[in-house]
């Protein structure tokens, strides 16, 4: 299939439709409005539902309803809106419902700004709402990956009965690139647990996150974490770039990884042995490549559009065997390749920038 030129946000929307999603609920917020606009145009033409909800809270609960009925469903928002969805994300986790959620991050906290950010890393990788739970968090770094990880997200959500989230940023959402929409989609699994009516032929199904007997609630939590262990074993995704002989390793995802790749190439031209580890799943975090790299690099540099959030996972994964420094911009600013290159040069000299 030929490639088409699309915005990242549009690529997510079209990929969701290709993945079999026929229900979208959202509330306007910059910088992800193209997703809703695209769905508003497309859904009526393919027998789907586009509904602009009265709030982010209502939208995520409409998602809860469609997920209960066993169908593929999504919502999208940006940082402040995701905070409002936090309640629903926790209930979805407690009820073991599959859902697909997109966060095109903007600068925070509070109303913040509308320019790109990665400062919802903690919120998304640690669950986002109350209680013990995780979401599968996918971090695309190109428009092509926006599309591919959307399909993957729907599949993983169904497979593990949980929320899969795309954690993008304003740059990813707005930038245009050629993208192939020749995407392979696996058949959704059977969902005998769904509330589709008993037809008087089976015991009633109940979708629920309430469990008042502590012994039982404990069992449910433990069982959920057993499932998470399987995901941590089987679903970790990352890219290693020029890491074979690296003395310095950069950790970066999303737009920060694109900037960092340029800096790595420049540094290599200068003779500095530097590589990049790019987590694609932020949860489960790719611990293995960092543990391996900690055996041969003298420093990690975490390049982030936040005050330093993923850096904590880099330290944990590398068990602090070598220093981990931060190279960042925040508030909607993006590190330049020059800034990253300077950090690489400083790290190679053994100093901190």
């Amino acid at each position: 299939m030929d490639k088409v030129l699309m915005k990242g946000n549009e690529a997510i929307a079209e990929a969701a439709i290709i993945a079999g999603c026929r229900h979208y609920f959202g509330y306007p917020i910059t910088p992800q409005t193209e997703i809703a606009a695209y769905m508003a145009k497309r859904m009526p033409k393919i027998g789907g539902t586009f509904l602009q909800a009265e709030s982010e809270i209502a939208a995520i609960n409409m998602v809860y309803g469609v997920a209960s009925a066993g169908l593929r469903v999504m919502t999208s928002s940006s940082s402040p809106g995701i905070s409002l969805k936090g309640e629903g994300l926790s209930y979805l986790a407690g009820a073991d419902l599959p859902s697909f959620v997109v966060n095109v991050q903007r600068g925070g906290p509070g109303l913040g700004g509308i320019q790109p950010s990665q400062s919802d890393y903690f919120q998304s990788t640690r669950g986002g709402g109350h209680g013990d739970y995780h979401m599968i968090v996918l971090a695309p770094y190109s428009v092509q990956e926006m599309a591919e990880l959307t399909v993957k997200g729907f599949e993983l959500a169904d497979k593990y009965r949980m929320t899969a989230m795309i954690l993008a940023d304003g740059t990813m959402g707005q930038m245009m690139e050629p993208v192939s929409l020749d995407l392979q989609v696996a058949e959704p699994p059977q969902k005998p647990w769904a509330t589709t009516g008993t037809n008087l032929s089976r015991k009633h199904n109940i979708i629920n996150s309430l469990s008042l007997v502590p012994e039982e609630l404990e069992k449910l939590n433990v069982a959920r974490y057993e499932r998470y262990k399987i995901i941590e074993r089987d679903e970790v995704r990352y890219e290693e770039y020029r890491m074979e002989d690296a003395d310095v390793a950069i950790a970066a995802f999303g737009i920060a990884a694109r900037v960092s790749k340029n800096a790595v190439d420049e540094a290599r031209k200068m003779g500095i042995k530097v590589g990049l580890i790019r987590p694609i799943t932020l949860w489960p975090f790719p611990k293995a490549p960092f543990a391996k790299a900690a055996e041969h690099v003298k420093q990690f540099i975490s390049v982030e559009l936040s005050m330093g959030q993923m850096i904590e996972d880099v330290k944990l994964a590398s068990e602090c065997k070598v220093p981990v420094t931060l190279c960042n911009r925040v508030g909607g600013m993006i590190p330049t390749p020059k800034q990253v290159l300077e950090a690489i040069v400083a790290a190679d000299k053994g100093g901190k920038l």
């Binding site: 809270i57 409409m62 809860y64 309803g65 469609v66 509330t195 979708i207 629920n208 996150s209």
Partner: protein, 252 residues
């Protein structure tokens, strides 16, 4: 000959409700209506947070437990997923008229084709008797220990009167279940609210004035009297909107 039986749509288990609480009556009416319309097998009920949070253990149809106040949004999702299914929410006054007011108003404004059973007992029961959005002026509760003072916490919210002003909703009626005659009228209203959905008419809400002897601090008998003497004057019974009947030139 069977002269009295439990409805099939109600599971034969002990209910957890307090003695004298009218939730049991309303559960039964909803279940009888499901039986009579033959819809149990294609009905999905949405339980709220509040005293009826465990309604999913009582109704025999498929059930979903929603977050506090979000039942109309969840119901919207379920109904949009398959419009041939029958979807109802069962919500109390804190759930529907306080934390979930936005979801209620917008589901009504969209004329979402669902049925809403709204239990108004003027108090938060499950958490131990706090002031509700529908608590009466002067009503003593745990969080209005000197009586509800409108200067401090405003006035009771009249849900049917408020929703009536919207163009969206199809049918709004307020009933109660404190006497045999009232129970019969309530059943008729609930049946109509489900029949409307089957007919594709849209958002149908039945508000049921209910008793809470435990948190009102009354005997069950006095609680039923309190509905007549105190609640009905503030919340008059009757049909607040019946669009099809009005459009067809019927009496209203």
């Amino acid at each position: 000959m069977i002269v009295f039986d439990k409805p099939h749509a109600l599971i034969d288990v002990p209910l957890h409700y307090c003695p004298g609480c009218t939730h049991g009556i309303v559960h039964r009416l909803v279940a009888e209506v499901m039986d009579e319309l033959g819809i149990e097998g294609k009905t999905i009920g949405i339980a709220p947070v509040g005293c009826s949070v465990m309604a999913y253990d009582y109704f025999n149809c498929d059930m979903i437990e929603a977050a506090h106040g979000r039942a109309p949004a969840v119901a919207t999702g379920v109904k949009r997923a398959d419009p041939t299914k029958v979807v109802f929410t069962y919500q109390g006054d804190g759930d529907l008229a306080s934390i979930g007011m936005a979801e209620t108003v917008h589901a009504a404004a969209r004329n979402e084709n669902i049925t809403v059973i709204f239990i108004n007992n003027a108090i938060y029961g499950m958490t131990g008797g706090q002031m509700a959005p529908t608590s009466l002026i002067g009503q003593v509760t745990q969080t209005s220990p000197y009586g509800r003072d409108p200067k401090l916490c405003g006035y009771p919210i009249k849900v049917c009167e408020m929703l009536r002003e919207l163009d969206g909703p199809e049918y709004l009626e307020r009933v109660t279940v404190n006497s045999v005659a009232h129970v019969r009228a309530a059943k008729k209203a609930i049946k109509k609210a489900f029949q409307n959905q089957l007919d594709g008419k849209g958002f149908s809400l039945v508000e049921v004035l209910s008793s809470c002897p435990t948190n009102w601090g009354m005997t069950p008998q006095n609680a039923l009297k309190w509905i007549d003497e105190k609640m009905i004057p503030v919340y008059p019974l009757g049909v607040y909107k019946d669009r099809s009947a009005t459009q067809e030139g019927g009496n209203k």
